[in-house]
Subunit: 428 residues, 2 copies
């Protein structure tokens, strides 16, 4: 056996405690798999005295994560502090400068500074690993970087924020409004301190940006993710989508097109019978499509101490076993900028309009859609009180440009009340 | 960049041609990911002249796979011949003896000779990789060996023979008998030359034995897999299981218990709403359960040129990138023999009996079950002609021993016609 791999763990929240628990419970199993011992030299967190349900005896303590990262007796910094600036970034940079490898669960840090950090790491011959940053316990970074490395990737999709999926599932199952489901998720402690990270799609957008870089050999480009949260999804849309055979998910989609890389994180309709449509509650799912392999679906817990610690440990074991890859699977210096001017891949859309109850109203709407080049695949009109009737339309594939043209012309028909709703239907 | 990795490919069936196609279509992408060129030095197959839809120009030809494996200008033997004896085994042994690494898709070879081959490889400092041997394009060997390396694995389950799943799906969807669905699968070319490899569960059993070794650190033990094929599954059971909310799958399950390793490959009932239950057609699914990560589900194409070639290329890229692991994730010399005397983990069971239409018949059956310690969770009795009525029973958890005791006592009731059917319900 070679010498032990010595960890310094910065951040002792639930994930940090989970990592320590695995290391303390399974030292022989881990050593057998790694071919060497894995030890913890030192730990660091904000508050030393706090009870974390896990023993810290035998580990040196550092108040300062940067000091931890620089210790001579640490081979790998395990960064579990979080946040895209401050001590997390400082500690990662200090570790790389001091010639240490880094394992991190920090999606925000890498989504925003990933390109610069990867270039720094690779220039120094160091490695940054981040399996835990994307979809919790699902080994999707590994599946994409290594398992599907023989494939030209066509599309990456994912439901990667369990809180959003929980809220949408509760709205459908229990008939809650968005606000009620949000309050329930909050009460269960599912929401980030800043809930817009969850429901605004930012957290999931960070994850998508990281997967895109690996999948397409492009620079991490979180700014290029078209973000739309779930705050505008209504119980009516959930019910009526279900009526048409769909479920609404906060779905991330990344595709490399002739015009560049499109990345979207937005509510989408998916067929209720598809694996994505069947994903209920807080679970995550990632769908990877390659030219040779076809479609691979990965499903598992996207958050929580155990699953996230499992992913951290996968990275630690890879380092212990001597696996050293560029951060995004190929040298960072060779990654290209490829943002598409605007997401434009055609798709079918679900439209919901409130129609005034006048003869010929539907014909006028259909006429407007037709003039914009939008053809109708399916349509339902419901009876309703109050002088308006909801109309649901599923279009054939069309573009957002065509939809905008049609929506601009709809007020002129004088039969549509309020704002029409349009939600993309992702063909899975 | 370091020097190219030079492949020798033995076997040019659909998978071999698929591998060549990837290498020919994506040389730059593969080199960027591998950090070096990947080249093919020589190929070998039975018939040189056959049109395989892929150019062989520029590759040396060997009639003999062993000669290919020994070539000085080959770094890695890619063995795609198949079969657990003969040229496949000879070529792999020759490659290891000549100091080459091996990538293989050969589940039979490794399920039967894996322990010896792994010991040989590791003694020589060589590596055997076999992602393509299990569940086609799904990167499950990697997920288990590396992605979940921080977990003590509790259970591995899988639907890993697409042909069996196709037959069972067609029986349910189209109301075909087993023989009709078998004939349809045969007509579509889905069956192995020896169909008992598929429908007898042997092929899937090979795969389960390989996953068990990785999951539990045990010697590959195909002989220890309790095999039961799908030939005895009837359309009645499929329909009536559906009526109780279940689907029947040829399911592999491996668990390490206090009594040793249990491996079963047999028709099981799973809830129709579970990921395994929703898997229809020829797709594969593997479910991995770890103490930290919880449940991870992987789904994808289990066969076919593209998916299998994708898995072969993942192994080739790992070798090109310098990843070198023991064959089963930890040194073969340290793997333990752990076969349980007999699978004995309790489970609920689905029972189907034909009851004569006499007063008190059901009470007598319930009495026999109760005396064997089997308690009934749900029961349905159907009207039927011919003097007997089918009765379906879902038991609470019980053992096979208790079932055997009850079945031995059933004839004494003189109200049960024919052989009762018992199918395990796997709790997923």
């Amino acid at each position: 056996m070679t010498s032990p791999l010595r960890l310094g763990i910065a951040g002792l929240g639930t994930v940090g405690a989970g990592v320590l628990r695995i290391l303390q419970e399974h030292p022989e199993m881990l050593a057998a798999r790694a071919g060497r011992e894995i030890t913890v030299t030192a730990v660091s967190a904000r508050s030393r005295g706090k009870d974390r349900g896990v023993a810290l005896d035998g580990y040196a303590w550092e108040d300062d994560a940067v000091a931890l990262a620089r210790r001579d007796d640490v081979d790998v910094l395990v960064e579990l502090i979080g946040g895209d600036e401050g001590p997390a970034k400082d500690a990662v940079e200090a570790a790389l400068a001091a010639g240490k490898d880094v394992v991190t669960a920090n999606k925000a840090l890498l989504a925003i500074h990933g390109q610069a950090l990867a270039e720094t790491a690779e220039a120094a011959g160091r490695v940054i690993r981040f399996e835990a940053a994307v979809a919790g316990g699902i080994p999707v970074v590994k599946a994409l970087t290594e398992g599907l490395a023989g494939n030209e990737i066509a599309r990456v999709m994912g439901v990667m924020n369990g809180t959003c999926n929980y809220i949408l599932t509760r709205m459908e199952e229990a008939g809650l409004t968005y606000d009620e489901a949000f309050a329930e998720a909050d009460g269960l402690g599912f929401l980030e301190a800043d809930p817009t990270l969850d429901v605004g799609g930012i957290d999931a957008g960070h994850k998508l940006a990281l997967l895109s870089a690996i999948a397409f050999g492009t620079k991490v480009d979180f700014e290029g993710v078209e973000l739309e949260g779930i705050g505008a999804v209504t119980i009516e849309d959930i019910r009526q989508a279900a009526d048409m055979g769909y479920r609404i998910k906060l779905l991330g989609v990344a595709q490399l097109t002739g015009r560049g890389l499109e990345q979207r994180m937005s509510p989408c309709l998916v067929p209720a019978t598809s694996p994505l449509g069947q994903l209920q509650g807080g679970t995550n799912m990632v769908v990877l499509e390659g030219d040779a392999v076809g479609q691979i679906v990965l499903r598992g817990a996207g958050a929580g101490a155990g699953p996230t610690a499992s992913a951290v440990m996968a990275d630690v074991l890879d380092l212990a076993r001597g696996l050293r890859l560029p951060v995004f699977g190929q040298p960072a210096a060779g990654l290209v900028a490829a943002r598409a001017a605007r997401a434009a891949i055609p798709a079918p859309y679900y439209l919901r309009l409130a129609l005034t109850d006048k003869p010929g109203a539907l014909a006028r709407v259909a006429g407007v859609l037709g003039e914009a080049g939008i053809s109708i695949h399916r349509m339902r009109q419901y009876e309703h009180g109050g002088g308006t009737a909801p109309v649901l339309i599923v279009t054939h594939r069309t573009t957002r440009g065509a939809l905008e043209e049609a929506f601009a012309a709809l007020p002129g028909t004088r039969v549509v009340q309020g704002e029409p709703v349009a939600i993309r239907i992702e063909e899975v």
